[in-house]
């Protein structure tokens, strides 16, 4: 995927969030992640991405 394509997706997601109430942002993003994971149709890869995205969200030094 080109950088421009990635940027387009990034912007589309940001703009869609802007049309939703803030309280629904987590719900929307979880729904989006689930739909994209199914569309990917590659369970091991989806599981790897699920683990990857956890990185950096825990305090430094916390068990991974």
């Amino acid at each position: 995927m080109t950088d421009a394509d990635l940027e387009r997706l990034y912007e589309a997601m940001a703009e869609t969030l802007g049309t939703l109430p803030r309280t629904d942002h987590a719900l929307y993003l979880a729904k989006l992640a689930l739909a994209l994971a199914e569309t990917l149709d590659d369970t091991p890869q989806a599981l790897a991405v699920i683990a990857e995205c956890r990185q950096g969200l825990l305090p430094e030094g916390a068990p991974a």
Binding site: D3, L6, Y10, M13, A14, E15, G56, L57
Partner: protein, 537 residues
């Protein structure tokens, strides 16, 4: 602003000069070819460019010293070429801090390191940090050494009228008011341009949300010249902080204000001190620091519809106000000054027709609009406008820990010089080329056995001819440079024997021909310079 007890010009490291009022000989003033209103960095650069081509100018400034405070601190590579061509570069090279690298941090953790494009073919680094008062002082050194430039400080333009032969300014100085006629006036009188108002012109565009306090502190701080961007830092949750190193142990801390913080409150000394102390604690600065200067800055995208109004031409901040993140304010102003400088000089010396001046607005306003197009994106990244943009921005930053692709979303927009592709002073491209730089682009530099390609450029136009026996054109404005088609320049320029590139005085490519012939070359040069029968040499 400065700490209590210190005056506006009371700097910890810089001594502001005091310029006396001019001593004028009584009687009417003669009509000057060019009067420049405003001796800021842009006005001085315009005067130096004109002088390079033998054109006299008179610089006016209402102040009696340089601008207060360090303001614009990032000078781009392209500006270094401008300064070099003016013969003013050496003190900049000696003093400024060159840099290529940026680091981004998200919630205190480094998530990204990026390098701006640089290579052995580049004569200058992508960026140099130097306080604006040094920029002005070094330009001033060159101005005072130049016999073609007269400067009058403490001289304010208070009126303007136009007549068929030009423009007459009303100038007020401590000795009184007088009329000053000119053929052309360059309005380099800054963001609040009085001339713009007197001409009834308005800047158009948008004021973005997102205000920054810019504060300079002096301290011994051990960190290389790397631009640091702190997103959502512990010291300012939800905000963005930028940190830049400058010469003389001065560090620039830019921090974003929250929507609920008033600029007035935020710029009170104790609040600036507290905010700066929190940021410094976060970056591990535990030795003492001194507050030097601070100010507040917002992200506007405003420009004049037309930079030319008859015989009055707007350059620099009088013509455009751009957001701080792209570091374009000063750099674009210097490019404006060089652009109008050579064009006006060519017209005044009869080497070009007056219509050449009309290429100034499309080229330089085009460069500003290009900044605006990117400004939306970088502003959304630096200061997200709503919760959705913030969430996505934070997601990209966090994902950058594991994916370089996401890091590129966080990369500040590259400060690539604007390409003047659609300009009357640029020829259309020759479709026979499959690579090499296109007409309108700033010429790429190439390292030669000794020195660089740019060292070989003439003062006016330059024709790069590849291979033996390539066509030329007998024109006093033209310098010929012969190069092998199979050498490093030939390769970078997609050349073969017979190829020619025509380079403008501002080092932008005017045109290129895969197989050049003399007639086309000469005709193109005449057309780009808007020469009529009287001006054709």
């Amino acid at each position: 602003m400065r700490p209590a007890g210190r005056g506006e010009l009371d700097s910890l490291y810089f001594t502001y000069p005091h310029f006396p009022a001019p001593v004028r000989t009584p009687g009417p003033e003669t009509r000057r070819p060019v009067v420049i209103a405003g001796a800021g960095p842009v006005g001085m650069t315009a005067a130096l460019t004109l002088a390079q081509y033998g054109i006299r100018s008179l610089l006016l400034d209402r102040k009696d010293t340089f601008n207060d405070g360090s303001r614009a601190i990032c000078i781009s590579r392209s500006s270094y070429y401008i300064l070099e061509r003016l013969g003013a570069l050496q003190p900049f090279l000696d003093k400024a801090l060159g840099w290529t690298r940026g680091r981004s941090f998200y919630r205190g953790r480094q998530i990204l390191e990026f390098d701006m494009p640089d290579s052995a073919d580049e004569k200058f680094r992508p960026m140099y940090n130097l306080q604006q008062q040094y920029i002005e002082a070094f330009l001033w050194q060159a101005v005072t050494a130049n016999p073609l430039i007269e400067t009058r400080w403490q001289s304010e333009v208070t009126g303007i009228s136009e007549e068929p032969q030009g423009v007459t300014l009303t100038v007020s100085d401590p000795g009184g008011s007088y009329a000053l006629p000119a053929q052309w006036v360059l309005a380099a009188d800054g963001a609040r341009s009085a001339i713009r108002q007197m001409r009834g012109l308005r800047l158009q565009g948008e004021n973005y949300e997102g205000r920054y306090v810019i504060a300079d502190v002096q301290m011994a701080h051990d960190y290389p010249t790397i631009r640091r961007a702190l997103f959502d830092p512990v010291s300012r949750p939800g905000g963005t902080v930028l940190i830049h190193r400058q010469p003389d142990n001065i560090w620039r801390i830019d921090y974003q204000l929250r929507d609920d913080e008033s600029a007035e409150e935020a710029t009170r000394e104790e609040n600036v001190r507290a905010a700066v102390a929190a940021v410094l604690a976060e970056i591990g600065q535990d030795s003492p620091w001194q507050l030097e200067w601070w100010s507040v800055y917002s992200a506007n995208t405003l420009a004049l519809e037309d930079y030319r109004d008859g015989r009055v031409i707007f350059v620099g901040d009088s013509a455009h106000i751009v957001p701080i993140f792209g570091v374009r304010g000063l750099n674009n102003g210097l490019a404006d000054a060089q652009n109008i400088g050579w064009k006006l000089a060519f017209v005044l010396t009869g080497q070009a027709g007056e219509a050449l001046i009309d290429s100034y607005t499309p080229e330089r306003r085009g460069a500003t609009l290009d900044v605006f197009a990117n400004a939306g994106k970088s502003t959304r990244f630096m200061t997200p406008p709503d919760a959705g943009w913030r969430l996505m921005r934070d997601a990209a930053l966090s994902l950058a820990l594991t994916r370089s692709s996401a890091g590129r979303l966080a990369n500040p927009r590259q400060m690539t010089p604007y390409t003047y592709a659609a300009s009357p002073a640029t020829a259309s491209d020759d479709p026979a080329f499959s690579d090499g730089p296109i007409p309108g682009a700033l010429m790429p530099d190439v390292a030669l056995e000794t020195g660089f390609l740019s060292d070989r450029m003439g003062p006016g136009f330059t024709l790069l001819r590849f291979g033996a026996g390539a066509a030329a054109c007998d024109d006093p404005a033209l310098t010929l440079v012969d190069l092998p088609a199979d050498g490093p320049v030939g390769r970078a320029y997609g050349a073969r024997p017979g190829t020619a590139y025509l380079i403008r005085p501002d080092l932008h490519i005017a045109g290129r021909w895969h197989q050049a012939d003399a007639t086309t070359l000469c005709q193109t040069l005449n057309r780009l310079l808007a020469r009529t029968e009287e001006t054709t040499a």
